[in-house]
Subunit: 241 residues, 2 copies
DNA sequence: CGTCTCCTTGATTGAAATCAACTTAGGTGG
DNA sequence: CCACCTAAGTTGATTTCAATCAAGGAGACG
């Protein structure tokens, strides 16, 4: 092994295990299809509930796109493993958000549980059949796709920011608005994961969060808990840098 | 910087049946969830042809999302004007590609003609009504949204590249595959526009293209014409940096 | 108590932004 | 046709910011 530690190499070994352990298709086929009490849409009766342990892969690049998901609890990361060894996290999804929608027959991205999470899993084929009969289903599908599009575009705008501080400020405000938890943010993900999402190094994430704290913009009671103290200035940083 | 007038609305009233549009191709051409409406689709009779002069705005941030478009000729840029004065171009669209699809009632982005261009314009309300009756229309809508999603995700991956050379190499290869013109690329856009798309400065774009030429990766007979000489090495740069 | 992982902080290096000067291409009118 | 003008593009010098390399600290856990 190398002297330099690769924080997600551990997760990579989990992938290998995950590929053999949870046989996505058979596993779910055996599972009884049950009603998702959290869902309110027309998909209500179509989902199966799945539990995924921390760090475990949900699907991998190259898999069939025969299933898609909705997060019931915790956080999921959607990532791409690049040839140069980097991992780019193109999205985090939290409770209520759907993911796993893809255009082609095979997946372009890998999905993994950031922490142990509960998902509702839909069989694409079933939903497509439903969409043929039920107009509300096809509208819901379009809605999901458009939400994903808006999120991806927002992420492009974030990555286009020239300064790391601006990206982190944007990320904090976005995360706050999505988690609906007031000024308090509970991070499920590590500094490394934040960095892989914002395309900056773990060290820079740490440095800038420290700087924000020194400037009185945030408070960090613990490494994974963060209070936004001055959203106005954070917003200015997000807008301007 | 640019004119604020919207002179194309007048042109809209002259309703002409949309002629056959070049079919979508390239990385978006996938099997599933795809409907090809190039000659028989219901969209064929629903579009109005519009001509937009160079640099002119097609729609602006804040406008109603009551129309969407397909490019018949030339190139369109979709951009966001940021508070710090920067312009981020989130996408270029070329012949055969559609744009202007947005989730909400009001636009998040501005569209402008890079060069004088011809568009086919669809009224969203009409298409939605058609989608209620015709399943192929609703599938086409979903298809458009998914294509936009895939493109936005690809752009996120591009912007996440840490080195400017990698972004430019990716951009060149993407542009080549979309323009279907062999190894020759004709740029409609300026260095500044490329920079605004890749989130790097105009000067760096110029420097790196010069470097590529010195390294024998490309040839530049003129500033807007570019020949890819070594796509293998360009591909490696796109992958690795 | 040691060990591991995650996080923080410091020192150095490297790449791109910025500032600035200069060149080229394209258009206009004499 | 040329002289001129302007916008676009190139190249160089300097500065700035974040990556990298390196070391140490904090918390979890057996």
């Amino acid at each position: 092994m190398r002297t330099k530690t690769n924080p997600w190499r551990a997760t990579l070994t989990l992938h290998a295990a995950a590929r053999t352990i949870p046989p996505t298709r058979g596993f779910l086929a055996r599972k009884s299809w049950q009603t998702d009490l959290r869902s309110t849409g027309p998909f209500q009766t179509a989902g199966a509930i799945v539990q995924i342990p921390e760090g475990r892969q949900i699907f991998a690049e190259g898999d069939d796109t025969d299933l898609f998901y909705k997060v019931a609890s915790s956080v999921v990361r959607i990532c791409k493993f690049l040839k140069d060894g980097r991992r780019q996290i193109i999205a985090f999804h939290m409770a209520g958000e759907s993911f796993g929608f893809e255009l082609g027959l095979y997946r372009q991205f890998t999905a993994e549980a950031v922490k142990e999470c509960t998902l509702v899993c839909y069989r694409r084929r079933n939903i497509e059949l439903m969409a043929q009969k039920d107009r509300t289903v096809s509208r819901q599908l379009l809605q999901y796709a458009m939400q994903g599009l808006a999120q991806a575009q927002a992420h492009s705008l974030l990555l286009a920011k020239p300064r790391a501080a601006g990206r982190i400020a944007s990320f904090l405000l976005d995360w706050q608005s999505r988690s609906n938890n007031g000024a308090v943010i509970q991070f499920a993900m590590s500094r490394q994961e934040i960095g892989d999402h914002l395309a900056i190094s773990m060290e820079t994430v740490s440095r800038i969060l420290s700087q924000f704290e020194r400037d009185g913009l945030i408070a960090m009671p613990s490494t994974r808990e963060l209070h936004l103290l001055n959203t106005r200035v954070l917003g200015e940083m997000a807008d301007c840098k």
